[in-house]
Amino acid sequence: MAATSNGKANGATRWIGTRPVRPDGVDKVTGRARFGADVHLPNMLVGKVLRSPHAHARIRSIDASAALALPGVKTVITRDDFNDLSSEFVPAGEMLVNYRDVVRNVMAREKALFEGHPVAAVAAVSEKVAREALALIDVDYEVLPHVLDVVDAMAPDAPLLHEDMITAGVEPAPTKPSNIAKVVEFKLGDVAEGFAEADIVIEREFSTQPVHQGYIEPHSCIANYSEDGQAELWCTTQGHFVVRGHCAKLLGMDVSKLRVTASEIGGGFGGKTVVYLEPVALMLSRKSGQPVKMTMSREEVFRASGPAAGTRVWVKIGMTNEGRITAGEAVLKYQAGAFQGSPVQPGCMCAFAPYDLDHVKVVGYDVLVNRPKVAAYRAPGAPQSEFAVESVVDELAKRIGMDPVELRLKNAAKQGTKAAYGPTFGPVGLVETLEEAKAHEHYRAPLKQGQGRGVASGFWFNIGGETCATLNLGEDGTIALVAGTPDIGGSRASLCLQAAETLGVDVERIRPLIGDTSTLGYTFLTGGSRTAFASGMAVVEAGKDMIRQLCERAAKVWDIPVDAVEWADGEARPAGSNAGEFDPLSLADLARLAGKTGGPFVGRAQINAQGAGPSFGTHIVDVDVDRETGRVTIERYTVIQDAGTAVHPSYVEGQLQGGAVQGIGWALNEEYIYDDKGRLQNPGFLDYRIPVCSDVPMIDTVIVEVPNPTHPYGVRGVGETPIVPPMAAIANAVEDALGMRFMDLPMSPPRVLKALEDARIAEAA
């Protein structure tokens, strides 16, 4: 299996690097765990959304009288129930959202901007009645021309989604509105100078299709709004504090009056960082005076929740004959969907981040199209731009006959490299992942006839941010750990390990809970690969806070100065012989004595975590291409990534494997298919095909540990980087197999077959 970490990168540790069974594990294998849709409340209604059948239409009027007259219908809401909000940008995941847009995204106002855009919602006694009611709502639409493609949307005569959209980031500001919301630019050095130094310059244009995060659990929530203006909300989300903020804003509530509890979350990958149903359910509950449960169908998930941006990316790279990259330039055009805010900025920032370059220029366009508003998807923006760059780097290596890993090593970003997006890297592990790749048996294994091998590297920043954690010491010396970041893939295990390490107690004595929004201070969401890092840091700080209290209490018991007490292996001891002769006081001893010595022990931390270490990875893939059907089969796959320190190596491996397989889907199959009216034709898992078990081989992993110096145990985020390299690695492997480079994703059987047939025809001619 995978090479694994011993977790000792930062010195001897007892718990970091071990693999205990996760604390929520038994609930998850017995069906006991409660996900978004698994809760029923007394007197509960069912809410359903009426969605626009048109990609772009002005809403002239909505008549809900017939629906309201249907027995069992309690209330209907439309745009008239939400107050309009002015433009105000707030963080959501790694991206910003504008409240003016959020209120329009959850319920269309002037226009329906994509097929599936909510235009009304019903609360009724049953789903059946709610569905019947939806059919009785009469919406008068004026259908408008629509635009789906990013290049078409940038044309001067394109249909406008927002008639007042003036491009930001351009001097002087344009006088006419367009679908280009924003232009961003990152520069380092002078690319003209860099290209002048090059012996070889390659420029290519790439395209990627929107792909969905594809979490198996659809969006779901229950809102319970009380007559006194307070409300509770249960929902599946990556960040219940963010949901609270958005809902309170849209409902005109104080945040203190809205208590949000995060259910177990059945996958998110960035797609559950924004609100869809939650404000609607709260409004339905407010108007009906009853709890309202809402759950999206899979079709609604596809039609109306956020995909990753479809893109056009142009890349130009210059290199000397010796393999030194002299300049990199790129232009990125990203679909934002119906509202501004594609991840084009991180796409620009990541594009050349794996390379130590003197001359870089990247320009990005955030472009509106009549599709659902994009949402974050695992390293949002990076896979698309790095796919393009890593494909061109592979072509450059081939051009001079240099091994592609060697070429990357020659140009790799390392400690001290100034990235084009601003910072100078501290210790980073790209070189180590490349060295591991070069040395890996996979890289030297013989290929069968007709197969090809590809490699690619990838980068993602990772983030920190506002985070709280609490450790409550029980009277028997066991600990309740309360964190505010929903556990999407085993983070409770990793937080318990970090707390156990800090306190020096058995990890089994620590039980975790994801607290609701009233139990902790504001905590930013699970995203940006920040949870093991930032919530981990908060847990360590809370542990230190508790140790300080425990040492003070031992000093009191022994009647010695507190600085004569030390904490080691889970107990207070006199610090050296001068402190006096006392038997150690364990956590359990001190817990038992709490009432007599000064009261309960609660370790707290409220931090703004800084210094998230970026993570680099390198992937190796072997493919086989069926020349008769165009099907690309993944024969072998190895992921090598820097984890800083792998706290629970099994869940680090799981992140690397899962990210790689999502990337395989992105590369080979996944895409949205629209008809000429702008209606999605494949809103289900049958026709939108994510990788299934028989599509993929075992995914080998190698965890590299270059500790992040800003985290007490060296942790860096690991969750997002693994989706970055697969598309280029697979395209490079297909090129190796066929001698044909695919620059448009997905490399699905019809496309590959067409390319093979075109080549046969060209050869015959």
């Binding site: 594990g25 198996i216 177990e264 990958f269 899979r298 491996e653 299934v692 028989s694």
Partner: protein
């Protein structure tokens, strides 16, 4: 239309329920019997999160009507452990960290149990094709396949 009265067996216990003609077995399990371990990921038989065993046959509960349960025996994830003893598959899934978010896990466990009842010594390829109807978006399937193979070996006494 009046609701239908259905008599069936769920996880070995006699169960009666009333349901509408259009309610699926999954709707009945989740909304009438409050057995929410079976999940609805798609409602169209494509994701396998609602996998249950009906008279020894593996089915998607979303593709069967509640009224069709009449006279049949249904096994769900809630019946997989024996009292406080986890099924070996459940234990191995925990040991191998073969789950991340865990929402597909009940369906995959039920499907894997059905496989091992038919084929106690499956190859990796057989495991992969048997589980091809159970989508998992988190794990990339690696640890799931390893956990199933390891369970099979252990249950064979190996």
């Amino acid at each position: 239309m009046a609701k239908a009265h259905v008599t069936t067996t769920v996880n070995g216990d006699p169960v009666e329920f009333l349901c509408d003609a259009e309610q699926t077995l999954l709707d009945v399990l989740r909304d009438e019997l409050y057995l929410t371990g079976s999940k609805e990921g798609c409602g169209s038989g494509d994701c396998g999160a609602c996998s249950v065993i009906v008279d020894d046959r593996l089915v998607c509960a979303c593709l069967m009507l509640g009224v069709e349960a009449e006279g049949h025996s249904i096994e769900t994830i809630e019946g997989m452990a024996n009292g406080d003893q986890l099924h070996p598959l459940q234990t191995k899934f925990l040991e191998h960290a073969a789950l991340q978010c865990g929402v597909c896990t009940p369906g995959i466990l039920v499907a894997a149990k059905s496989l091992l009842e038919r084929n106690p010594d499956p190859t990796e390829i057989e495991v992969r094709y048997w589980l091809a109807g159970n989508l998992c978006r988190c794990t990339g399937y690696d640890k799931i396949v390893r956990a199933v193979l390891d369970t099979a070996q252990e249950m064979r006494g190996g």
